[in-house]
């Protein structure tokens, strides 16, 4: 019914929104959310391909990606918290101790 290209277009749009969000936003938590959006766009692509290729590999991969994304979320938020303790800010512009 719904063709493969619609899923892929949606996945590509989500991925681009994630990339743009990562590059343009200043708040580190929002940057991190954009990263999660990118990972989930890839998940959508996997599931769509798995459906249209009649192969379970894609869906199994999604399991692993979700587990890894969860672990990454935990580590990332711990790092952001540690950063907040030291610097009292979550603005990406303030992370400028080391420059060129």
């Amino acid at each position: 019914m719904v063709s493969l290209s619609s899923y892929l277009i949606l996945s590509a749009i989500l991925f681009s929104v994630g990339v743009v969000g990562f590059l343009l936003r200043r708040n580190i938590i929002v940057i991190f959310m954009s990263i999660e959006l990118m990972l989930n766009a890839a998940n959508l692509a996997f599931v769509a391909f798995s459906r249209f290729l009649d192969s379970m590999d894609g869906q199994i991969f999604v399991f692993f990606v979700m587990a890894v994304a969860a672990a990454e979320a935990v580590v990332g938020l711990a790092i952001i918290m540690a950063m907040y303790r030291v610097k009292e800010t979550v603005n990406a512009d303030e992370m400028n101790l080391m420059k060129w």
């Binding site: 991190f32 990263i35 990118m38 990972l39």
Partner: protein, 484 residues
């Protein structure tokens, strides 16, 4: 339903199992043992690494698949595993006194380093893109935490944050690339991809080509090639120096291990498509790394840009995708491990709490007070610059002759010019040490026995690999048979 239980070949992942079990035991020890017992944790981790190394050497020559043909055991994987284990061992040796001095003596550090090594070892023996991804994420997450280990130092946390954000970003690209390749070929298994791509009509599938491009982005970030290198100087400068040493060798070698397997085996029929991309990447990486390193005043940043340049040399070897080229990648990684870890070891030894001694000018006059240390540092600098009879020279020689043999004369010329350029900033340190007068008083240096052992191993490795290169090159050639 008829379930077929997949074959799990436990003996094929022996080294990884050893390290994982050691890491888990150490994790438990770090919380339940008494504080005096906790001081044994680094030495126990060394024991685990030694055992894993013995296992790797005993498995040499064997070839097997594990986990339903997703993990492969062959000489290529074992070669890289040995590199990772040597890297881990040297890092642990160099960290023992360093952590105590800085006041961060926690057992979890060693646990994280061992888990990172496990991740890298899986990435080297991956025969399926899932395992590449899992291995990549395993060691990346461990190193994100390790880079921020010195929690009270703002630079350390900032470097961890930058590495984490950019690392996760590139993982997103890598994952999307894997998704597109899966969509184009119907499988994530490297052998399956190779068989699919070998049939001619596949060569112009846009999904496959875009997926390949995204994979280059993902891998390019991990090995710090231009234009994905922006994280390297900041992260190397801020992280604890022992972790910088680990980071400069481990992830790069792991990234190249997977990069080579995917591109020189699975995607090899598409060679005409990706070889020019890698050509451009190699030139940009070498040139930018060497040129910017000249302007650096901080020795850790200089070594960061130098490691970018070395990634460029290895990309040159990848472009020359024949037998000598691929074997020289392995050889160069081995040589690079010893010389880079040695250089960082000297930096760790020379700095102390409160007086980090990270500026290049702090090294002036070192030879008068510490002649042995200066000589050791000079050996590493010569090796990085590519001056005979060290391993760095032979590695570069093999790489550039492979490039010339494959017909990329222009690339080889650019490489040699860059190598000549790099001699300036490597030898600048040597000149500072020997020919300038000391700028300030040097405190008394008391190297721990572990650090002395680490430096001796690094010097020995650098010189031995350089003086008898053919033995190691033959080992490397034996290892790449699976790829050809």
């Amino acid at each position: 339903m008829n379930l077929v239980i997949p074959e799990i070949n436990w003996s094929a992942i022996g080294p990884e199992l050893t390290l994982s079990i050691t890491a888990m035991v150490l994790l438990l020890l770090s919380v339940v043992a008494s504080p005096t017992a906790r001081r044994a944790i680094p030495y126990l981790s060394l024991l685990g690494i030694a055992f894993a190394l013995l296992l790797c050497i005993s498995l040499w020559g064997k070839s097997a698949y594990a986990f339903n043909r997703m993990v492969v055991l062959d000489n290529y994987a074992l070669f890289f595993k040995i590199i990772f284990l040597i890297t881990t061992a040297l890092t642990v040796l160099m960290s023992i006194r360093y952590l105590k001095e800085q006041g961060y003596e926690h057992g979890e550090y060693y646990v994280l380093i061992l888990f990172a090594a496990v991740g890298m070892m899986f990435m080297a023996s991956a025969a399926d893109l899932i395992i590449v991804f899992l291995g990549l994420e395993t060691f990346s997450l461990a190193i994100y935490v390790l880079a921020g280990f010195f929690r009270a130092q703002p630079k350390s946390i900032e470097s961890s944050l930058k590495y984490f954000l950019l690392g996760a970003f590139s993982t997103g690209f890598l994952l999307y690339g894997i998704a597109l390749i899966y969509g184009a070929t119907g499988t994530t298994n490297l052998k399956g991809i190779y068989e699919f791509v070998s049939k001619a009509p596949a060569l112009t599938d846009p999904l496959l080509l875009i997926g390949m491009g995204l994979l280059i982005v993902g891998f390019g970030f991990k090995v710090a090639s231009v234009p994905f290198h922006m994280w390297t100087p900041d992260v190397y400068e801020g992280a604890p120096t022992s972790i910088t040493a680990f980071m400069s060798v481990g992830p790069k070698a792991a990234g190249f291990a997977a990069f080579l397997r995917v591109f020189l085996y699975a995607l090899s029929p598409l060679q005409t498509d990706w070889i020019w991309i890698l050509w451009v990447l190699a030139v940009l990486t070498m040139t930018l790394g060497n040129v910017v390193a000249i302007a650096q005043k901080n020795i850790k940043r200089m070594l960061a840009y130098s490691s970018i340049a070395h990634a460029g040399y290895i990309l040159v070897a990848m472009v020359a995708a024949d037998e000598l080229g691929t074997a020289s990648v392995l050889y160069y990684m081995l040589a690079y491990a010893f010389m880079n870890l040695g250089a960082f070891g000297v930096i760790i030894l020379f700095g102390r709490k409160g007086e980090e001694n990270v500026n290049i000018s702090d090294y002036s006059g070192m030879a008068a007070k510490y002649p042995l240390l200066a000589a050791v540092m000079a050996i590493f600098m010569f090796s990085l610059a590519g001056i005979p009879p060290t391993a760095g020279f032979v590695g570069k020689f093999y790489i550039f002759s492979a490039a010339v043999k494959a017909g990329y004369i222009g690339l080889a010329i650019i490489g040699v010019l860059n190598s000549a350029l790099s001699v300036y900033f490597y030898l600048r340190i040597t000149v500072m040490m020997y020919m300038r007068s000391p700028e300030k008083e040097f405190a008394k240096l008391e190297p721990s026995p572990a650090m002395v052992i680490a430096l001796i191993i690094a010097v020995f490795g650098t010189l031995q690999i350089g003086i008898t290169p053919s033995h190691y090159l033959n080992l490397a050639k034996q290892s790449i048979l699976a790829l050809m």
